[in-house]
Point group: C2
Chain length 463, copies 2
């Protein structure tokens, strides 16, 4: 199925992810974000709809650019409070069989040894259905909360991330050889000490030595997601990512980034087609176009303008409380240009946007397109976007939780299946095998993780 | 029910906890430790039997004293591999309604801000059924794995722990006032920024500032467990612990520690009866005495002597591989006396123990008594131990997983209920309310956590 469209749900373990104000909608359940039932119900719905994974964003920096404080963020519950998504996974795994769970975790805050154990734990408990969205953290409030003096400069963050990856790859791939966990009741051997190795690392950012505290899990290294948009971030994605997450409302910007990262991956010897791209999108669907438009109007009535401005202030680094919603972006740009705003003028070069328009534009589902229409119109739009951009699928944001996903599963998935562009059933095996096919439970060369897996075997062969 | 006996299961998320070699027993399921089903089944069994909590030990230091390497630990799977118990909780909460989950986490390795968010997440998802066993870490291999040069000296670890507690109490109790999470759909206010506060801490070990990333969870501060055995550890327990875990095969040593910690708690103004004590024990029960003895013989045939020596070498700090199993403890003591060995000679002062006897003595269930017999004999033994020591209940270790607990629930619990010394049903509410009664969801003054909860309210009152 060459044209197969892949779908993840893009989520935050919070009252608001990307659609500010919608938790107050009478049919929204996001206020139950801190109870298990919301998430186990959503996981069941997603598996019924053949989603590849639930993809959880995360972070601990406040939305405190707007007005110079976190007041708007607190008032609207903008990704604050936000709970730890790793702790949701086992309950969702308990009620599903195939669905993947991609969790975001920053390399900036935690010791690689403990993090590696956490991901191996989840990979065991899900039987190989876990992914990791690798991020570096730039928020000063997050750094201060951890007790670090300041967030590191951008490129240094990625240097640290490369070193972090080196350590966790070695723990996941090299510390325990295949078959080291003998588990032999008759011989009374749990594991063979000769095939379990201590990892020693001395680097610029980290020094450690330790034996991985988990026997090999089904995938060893979790499926790797990344979303770097900068030059340095794209290099990192080209080297490490199996799935890349892109956000832009403009197809040709997505297309440019897909081509760019694929070229960088190819330059590193990787098969460019093996890097899968997911484009942020929000789908508002109803049985007919008119009903979909009515649903869209109803949703827009619940949007919080203040919440949208606070979200966008953080993303752009510009305190939009200093401007009127009627000020033009040209005016804001003259005050301090940011790439986040650039994207919008590129999207529609003939138009002069106001701040208020920009906020509303972003208010539902964040910085991706919103597709509104009947099931056939949505399927057309998804296929067209995929053809224009070269992405493999979508990270679907929601307006209503879980309503937006229930609508997608009930209305769009059957239409995509009719068109032969959507899986009718999951493949067997781990999350990685579901994406790459049988025999691909582990990363293959020349991915750097695979290089590490061979390390001790080669040493032994040459010895 | 003044004589009520409380029961926790004492567990490790590993193939072996305290009964080395038993995973190889044909009726043991511990090899499934890395699958959800073992733990969700055990949670259901424990709730059926009215257990207060599953209590998970944890740690990342190798059992590498014996023979100067971790080879025996790896071969027998001695608390290695060991996975992260926090990640099991949501699945077990999903299949139970009342059972508590106490997880061990060290203050030595993780930023208080992130840990506080983790525990709040679990307290939300379990609806207030989570506990924290506070430990400081002394293993050099754990410190090196984290990238710390060396484990800190003993008393300094507790100084750091006191400061860590100060920070997490402030995050849990002070950062969000009661009612700050308004959650008002009509007024469209998620939370009131005026009642959500940033915590700033500048101390000897930690400096941080941040607003807790979770709205108040049912218990705010999780139920606090501790197991300090040293003078400094007992002071820490007297100040912070609600539940204290003690391990000794000797009733009068337990009695001494119960009285000692209660006296220290009273000196700090706490009600000494509000500190609950749990004594490590293992129960081998069958319908008749003879069948229980037969079960015990069968279990002993599966014990690993090497595993037992490796466990005890770590606990005592003495490499027992240097001695013959026939060497007497007197001889070992002359080489380097340790309190862990002292306990055994005190237990039976007239007897000269050999190393082999000591290892076998510890081989099932660790450093607590093993009670073997019919349900009535076990109930007698538990009541007698409770009366002799002043403990409130037991942390039950197992020989077979989950068989030892299934036996206890099926055979001992009904006998205890007949005697009127065991709950017939759980109390409503959070884990803390189940132990302390209605209205006790939160810690009360003079516990230091309660002091912090009042901080902002008092400031406002006096302003």
């Amino acid at each position: 199925m060459a044209k197969e469209i892949r779908i993840n749900a893009f989520l935050a373990f919070a009252p608001t992810h990307l659609s500010p104000g919608l938790w107050a909608h009478p049919r929204d359940r996001a206020l139950d974000y801190n109870s298990l039932a919301l998430w186990t119900d959503l996981a069941r719905t997603a598996e019924r709809g053949g989603y590849d994974a639930l993809f959880f964003a995360d972070g601990i920096s406040q939305y405190d650019v707007y007005g110079g404080s976190n007041a708007a963020g607190v008032r609207w519950g903008l990704q604050f409070p936000r709970l730890d998504p790793l702790l949701l996974v086992s309950a969702m795994a308990q009620v599903t069989e195939h669905l993947g769970f991609a969790v975001t975790s920053s390399v900036s805050y935690e010791a690689p040894f403990l993090f590696a154990r956490r991901m191996s734990t989840l990979d065991h408990l899900t039987r190989g259905r876990v992914g990791w969205n690798i991020v570096t953290s730039f928020g000063q409030s997050g750094s201060r909360a951890i007790g670090q003096a300041d967030a590191r400069p951008h490129d240094e963050r990625y240097d640290l991330a490369d070193e972090y990856m080196e350590i966790v790859y070695r723990l996941w791939e090299e510390s325990w050889e295949d078959g080291a966990a003998v588990r032999d009741r008759d011989a009374r051997v749990f594991a063979d000490p000769a095939r379990v190795h201590e990892i020693r690392h001395e680097g610029r950012f980290f020094s450690m030595q330790g034996t991985h505290y988990s026997e090999p899990s089904p995938q060893r290294t979790p499926l790797l997601y990344q979303a770097g948009a900068s030059n340095r971030g794209k290099d990192f994605a080209a080297r490490h990512a199996e799935c890349v997450f892109l956000s832009s409302p403009t197809a040709h910007l997505i297309a440019r980034d897909v081509a760019d990262v694929r070229a960088r991956a190819a330059a590193l010897g990787r098969d460019p087609a093996s890097v899968l791209f997911f484009s942020l999108a929000t789908v508002i669907v109803a049985p007919t176009s008119d009903e979909a438009q009515a649903k869209w109007q109803d949703i827009q009535r619940h949007v919080s303008l203040e919440g949208a401005l606070a979200l966008f202030s953080r993303w752009s680094g510009i305190d939009l409380s200093k401007y009127s919603p009627d000020d033009s972006l040209q005016y804001v740009k003259s005050e301090g240009m940011q790439s986040a705003i650039e994207a919008f003028t590129v999207a529609d070069p003939g138009r002069v946007w106001t701040i208020g328009e920009l906020a509303v534009f972003n208010a539902i589902g964040g910085k991706g397109p919103v597709f509104i229409g009947s099931p056939a119109e949505i399927a057309d739009a998804l296929e067209s976007w995929k053809a224009q951009t070269g992405v493999d699928g979508f990270n679907l944001s929601h307006a209503l939780l879980p309503g937006t996903h229930e609508d997608f599963v009930d209305l769009v998935v059957p239409e995509l299946r009719r068109r032969g562009v959507y899986k009718n059933a999951y493949r067997a095996g781990t999350l990685r095998e579901k994406l790459y096919g049988e025999g691909h439970a582990h990363l293959d060369a020349p991915h750097p993780a695979a290089t590490h897996r061979a390390a001790f075997i080669e040493e032994n062969t040459h010895a």
